[in-house]
Symmetry: C2
Subunit: 212 residues, 2 copies
């Protein structure tokens, strides 16, 4: 099974690609620019990580993580509808705005980035996960385990089970089912609160679900 | 210092009143009906817990937790503007809808229940906290510690520090600053996701913030 990471040259995507590759997962980093994707893959160094243009990344992968900036989210997914058909898509995009007071939630017309992905990709199986991860910790090779749960949302049990299993491949991480896509907005935008936590406590905060 | 709990005869309010009283905090349970509030206080049994009508509860308290149902939130707070003036108000209300597929977020005109409280109570200091607690665990006397963090939101450091300290009085609980009131909606509505977690895992889920 191969996992693609669209936007895999950004901090979050690169961090996820690194962690999955390090866990032995076959990973394809996607970028608008194939050369940049290949350079990022070479830099991350694992034998399991390669790079390709976004459409090629989608075509080669069974599971495709969407880690593009919110600003390019709709446009990128629209352009990849065909190569993403039949694929399991995992949206991890957090629509946020920033001003002097910090981060705040943006509200997509569809309700959330994940619901926007589902609307734009009618032939894909769309889930949402990997929102609350610190890109700093993901990318730091000295960090052995990532101490956080991953809330996984989706409409199909088979799909969310697969994404949970994928998350649980990364040492310290655990996939936890956390509802349907209609409840994705608050999971995405909670990143604004984690940014406040990080500022106040000089931390790289994640979340654990207790009693599970 | 006395803590009032408006809506203290409901599950969440009763559970919080019980835990705070058990931790030695002086608590006044508030209800529309003074006799019901007094009966709930007697039932909870602690020498530290008394009951009163909502307005009397507000008047007697330094910190007032708002734990009324979302349906009565605006009306209750409007009617208590005067006795709540000058008080530290802690809103823990989660505006949710329910249908066959479970719980989903409602979006108040003001953005969140906490922002509605701030709009309706211009002479109070409004914070938000205590959203992610299991009323079942809170009310079970055999449960010794409540294994969860409490996200505390507000505009003033002095106020959020006080609410964090209050949360931390309950064994197992820890107050964590998690942003301004404009980021309260996602904290409130994340309860819909925790309800999905509870269904899937037969759990009473809470949250821990990692790396803090």
């Amino acid at each position: 099974m191969t996992v693609g990471v669209l936007g895999g040259t950004g901090d979050q995507g690169r961090g996820l690609a690194y962690r999955l590759g390090r866990a032995g997962q076959s990973v394809v980093i996607g970028s608008r620019d194939a050369a940049r994707a290949e350079a990022a893959a070479a830099e991350l160094g694992g034998a399991t990580i390669s790079g390709a243009a976004n459409d090629e990344c989608a075509r080669r992968s069974d599971i495709v993580i969407v880690a593009v900036p919110w600003e390019g989210h709709a446009k990128t997914l629209e352009s990849l509808r065909e190569p993403l058909a039949g694929k399991l898509v995992v949206d991890c995009v957090n629509p946020l705005g920033f001003d002097k007071q910090g981060a705040y939630a943006l509200v997509p017309d569809e309700g959330s980035a994940a619901q926007q992905a589902a609307a734009l990709l009618p032939d894909s199986r769309v889930t949402a996960a990997f929102h609350h991860l610190s890109a700093v910790l993901l990318q730091n090779p000295e960090v052995e385990t990532i101490d956080t749960d991953v809330m996984v949302l989706g409409e199909s049990r088979a799909d969310t089970d697969l994404v949970q299993a994928l998350a649980s491949r990364i040492p310290g991480m655990r996939g936890v089912f956390a509802g349907r896509l209609r409840n994705a907005h608050q999971v995405e935008s909670l990143v604004a609160n984690l940014i406040s936590v990080n500022r106040r406590y000089k931390a790289h905060a994640g979340l654990r679900v207790t009693d599970v």
